[in-house]
Amino acid sequence: MKIRAVTLNDVRQFSRPVRVSGIGDGVNVLSAPNETGKSTLFDAIQYALFVKHTSKPSANKFTLTPNIGGNPEVTLEIEQDGARLEIRKRWGRQAHAEVWRNGALVAKADEAEAMIAALTTPPEKGGPTGLLWVRQGLTEFAEKDALEKSSRANLLSSVTDEIETMTGGKRMDRALARAREDRDRLVTTRGAKAGGPLDAAEKDVTALSSEAEELSARAARLREALETRRVKRRSLGALTEPDEVALRSTRLQQAQAAFDAADRHAAQLQMTEQRLQNAALTHRTLDDQRTSRDRTQAQVAQLARALDDATQRAESAQAKADETEAALTKAGDAEQAARAALQQAEAQVQVAQDTLIWQENDKRRAALQADLAQAEALAKTLPDLRKAAETGPDAAQLDAIDKAARELAVAQDLAEAAAPRIAFDAEPGAPDLHLDGTPLGREPRSVARDSTLDLPGLGRLRILPASGDLDTRAARARDALASALTRAGATAADGARAAARARIEAGQSLRAATEDLRRLAPEGIDALRAEIARLAPTGNTPTDAPSLPDAQTARETARKAEADAQIVTSGARTVRDHAREAAIGARHDRDALARRLEEARAHLAGLPDSAGMAEALAAAQTELTEAESARDALRAAAPDLDASRAALTRAQSVMRGAEDEANALQRDLAALDATVATLSGEGIEETLADTQLRLARAERRRDALRHEVDVLNALIEALEAAQSSARDRYFEPVLAELRPMLRLLWPGAELRFDGDSLLPVELIRDGHTEAIGTLSGGTREQISLLVRLAFARLLARQGQHAPVILDDALVFTDDERMEAMFDALHAQSGDLQILVLSCRNRALRQLGGTKLAFEDLPNPG
């Protein structure tokens, strides 16, 4: 299809008919300022082709309704398969649609719309026309509004047939969509879809598994209860069976009777044994008494002898004790004497020591008294020394005087050096001259101050040297010296120095005296006097005192004698103590034997006589023999009491155990009956069997759905793989058309398309991959245009001509690129029809091609 002319009437700003005609093959340019109706022309062509005449203007955003009101009318003249067609449409009142072929009306109204639809095939049905239009600011590949959406929904819609052939087209899409829909109904990427059939089946399985498990547990509990009850019932039956009960009773009675008999026999035996024990005790007592009498008699004799011996030993020991007591008394006396001698010797030593102390004190007191005299003499000199030490210039004052004197001397020397000199070289016979009274000769003399030169016979020559700086310095120095001397209390420097030396010497003397006084009386003179007083003699010094060594030797001798006497006394005391203890022990032994003898005699006197004792012993022996015989007889006939007791205990235990067990079984059975009644009444096993069947069915259902998912995934995977592969193959020719145009702008560039949306997504240039969305507006509009040109080329090669309409499609493109785009347009326009609508007059002058313009037509009215 190629557009040849468009006529508008009552369309937006065109209240009068206008026409654009002469649209040829190749590039056609309608260049006009803004608001002159280019976009209106663009929309009018779209309306004529895609908007039914019966649609209401408000249904579309881009309504053609005139600004001043009216009913828009568009006539589109096209060339299709060698025929000239006219599409005439009017919307609003008196809406109509007509198709004219070669000047003849061939269809009207719906028939005309059907024919138009067949000519163009709307975009949503894969028609080519809508694709290739690009309008200002709509260079993106995304959908904008309803009309744009329908006309630009799919970039490749214009080549749908081709795509369908290669990629399965809409059949493929529908199959894929159904497969995905079926699968998505079952699963998501994370597993079974919540609320979906598979999810429900899996939940059923889980719930039923849990239910079956719980029922199995309850059924097992029921089974266990039934089995337990069966066993317990049998146990109870066996326990309560009458023969069994009677047998247990009989056994108990028999065991009781046997035990009673054995118990009685045991009691009789016990009595007999008691009798035997009594007889044996009586016999043993009598026998013991006889033995005791014999033993007591022997003991009395023995004790009497022992008493005699003890009496003798006591007397001997007492004598010995008396003897040692006397020896001890003697030794004590000797010791006392030795102690007195020692005391006397020690007193002599004390006297000797006191004498020595007295002598030392005298010496000490004499020395201290000498020190005291010296100290008192020194103390008297101290005030004068202190006064002298504080009299005269101190070091600082002296130093100031010295400095001032030195400064004065220097000043004077300098003045002297600077003073005029005078000499007198006398002629023979000349009188002597005197300067300031001193003869003046050839030796020059300085005249530093006012001087008088006596000129004999002439008078006196006064020499007055002029005073200068040096004199001033000397005067200041003199003043300073005078001031220093005044502060030091001196009149001359030498005197000041002598006074300073005297002050220093006085200070030294003061320190020496103070030091000596401190040495002589460290604690002060009063303390020294007190010490002397303390050492004053208190009595007369003994005159006959022994020497200390002699006294000490005598004391040692006495001390040794006293020690020896103590030893002797101690030994005598020990001997005396032993003897005294022995005497006491001998007396105690004697007394004890006497008591024992007396007791033995008393005990012997209390025993029966021998004849009576022998008779009683014989009677006891007889009783003992009889009791032994009776016991032996009973023992031989005794039943086993322990065995009978054990048998009785066991029989009783069996009876009690049977009763307890029966009671317990009855209690257990009551509880089991309740459990069984509850569980079996609920039909647990029926429910379990049913649940297991339901579980198996749910598992089959789940497995079938999982298989369904596998099947759908396999189908989707196969379809997607085939579609992707086909698309790759399909895009090759598109890219082959596109590549040369792209490289007019960007050498070596490539464009990559998305497999699903079939839209360009990336531009690869200079080795870099850039997403379409990140490119500049100019680049995007250039790519948009080139892609459409490429598809238009492809369509044209397949005999499906479709016009490319560009409505200010290159508003962002700079002049340099514009040139390249013009080259691309011309390069592609060989068998295409390209309609360029633009307000960029100057830029488009370089484009060339057929120039178009709005042409006013006479108003039909």
């Binding site: 079996s680 029926e686 297991q692 198996a696 759908l712 189908l715």
Partner: protein, 375 residues
């Protein structure tokens, strides 16, 4: 010898079964049908002049039926006092189910006799019943052995009643059949009424399984039934009487490429009509079929399914015969054809596991059905 004695022989009522393996909407109907089975047996007995109904075991599905199951069954038994019911413990309701038999003993109406001991039971003048109750679920021995030595009044008809397998067939695969097939002859029985096998089967002239009066699964085809037995001293006369409310059938549908699958399926179906509502039908398609045939078969199955109480076409074992024509029908070229070729290749690739091949085959069938739906 007594005059002719007619009784009704039934078994395996399996009261309490709930059909959890079937769809919810059907379960209610099946449970209700099972609930009515005692009434139908009673009616069959009355219809054929039988005063006694012998139930050869497995009257209850479990050893601990729900109270409602038990009570409602007993009420139905008591409904006609003129009929006497003889109840033998089977493997599902053996004597090991003490609770069940205690309940039955406590609650049984007068016309219900419990056969819990191996002892002759005079059930009618001149007729002695020799029951072989199962002491536990798996008896482990021939319980009919005692019948040979059982003393009965001279001239009485000896009637055996047992539950279990004969020879090598048994409803319970864990039990080997241990009842000798000649037990009727060796024990001098006029008739040995057996239970356990849910299908009706005459083992010998005097030995038969009555089958269950109402099927509960697809193992046996048809409707449940009972036997009306008439003993005269000669060979017993057995008359099968249908009692089942539902017709159960499972049939294979063997297909080969080129076969008219819908027609083959139709041939397996009962005539169209209201009766189909009581039919449960499971068709297992086997063999090979083309994509087109499978599509047509599924379509026919979908068409027929609503007629039936239950209808299921299982194509898990039906292999796909992939033909060029089928693939051409999908597309002559392009991506669709490429996808179909890929799936076809996987479906016939023996290097792949069976499961993977079936998935690929399923995917191809699905693709075919999607596209066929559009035409």
């Amino acid at each position: 010898m007594a005059d002719a004695f007619t009784f009704l022989h039934s078994a395996d009522l399996h009261l309490g079964r709930r059909f959890g393996n079937l769809p919810e909407d059907l379960r209610g109907r099946l449970i209700e049908a099972r609930h009515q089975i005692i009434a139908r047996l009673a009616q069959a007995a009355r219809d054929h002049g039988a005063g006694h109904i012998l139930l050869a075991g497995d009257t209850f599905d479990t050893e601990t039926p729900a109270e409602t199951t038990l009570r409602q069954a007993l009420h139905q038994v008591a409904d006609d006092p003129a009929l006497t019911w003889w109840l033998l413990p089977g493997n599902h309701d053996s004597l090991g189910a003490e609770a069940l038999w205690d309940s039955l003993a406590r609650q049984a109406p007068d016309n219900l006799r419990l056969l819990t001991r191996e002892a002759p039971e005079a059930i009618a003048p001149g007729v002695t019943l020799l029951p072989a109750p199962l002491p536990r679920r798996h008896a482990g021995r021939d319980l009919t052995a005692w019948m040979a030595d059982a003393a009965t009044p001279e001239g009485d008809l000896r009637l055996g009643l047992a539950h279990g397998g004969i020879q090598s067939f048994s409803e319970d695969t864990r039990d080997e059949g241990i009842i000798p097939p000649d037990r009727a002859q060796s024990a001098g029985l006029a008739y040995l009424a057996l239970g356990d096998w849910h299908g009706q089967k005459q083992v010998g002239p005097r030995t038969a399984y009555s089958g269950t009066p109402e099927f509960e699964e697809f193992r046996h085809t048809g409707r449940g039934a009972c036997l009306v037995v008439t003993l005269t001293g000669d060979a017993p006369v057995l008359k099968p009487v249908e009692t089942g409310a539902f017709h159960w059938a499972e049939a294979p549908l063997d297909l080969v490429p080129g076969q008219d699958a819908p027609a083959a399926l139709d041939a397996l179906l009962p005539p169209p009509g209201a009766a189909r509502r009581d039919h449960l039908l499971r068709i297992a398609a086997r063999g090979r079929a083309t994509l087109e045939t499978q599509q047509a078969l599924r379509s026919a199955a979908r068409q027929a399914e609503p007629d039936f109480a239950h209808f299921r076409l299982d194509t898990a074992m039906l292999d796909t015969e992939i033909t060029e024509a089928d693939l051409d029908q999908l597309d002559h070229g392009g991506a669709l054809r490429a996808a179909a070729d890929r799936l076809a290749g996987q479906a016939s690739d023996t290097a792949l596991a069976e499961a993977e091949r079936r998935i690929a085959s399923g995917a191809l069938n699905r693709l075919y059905s999607y596209l066929a739906d559009e035409t």
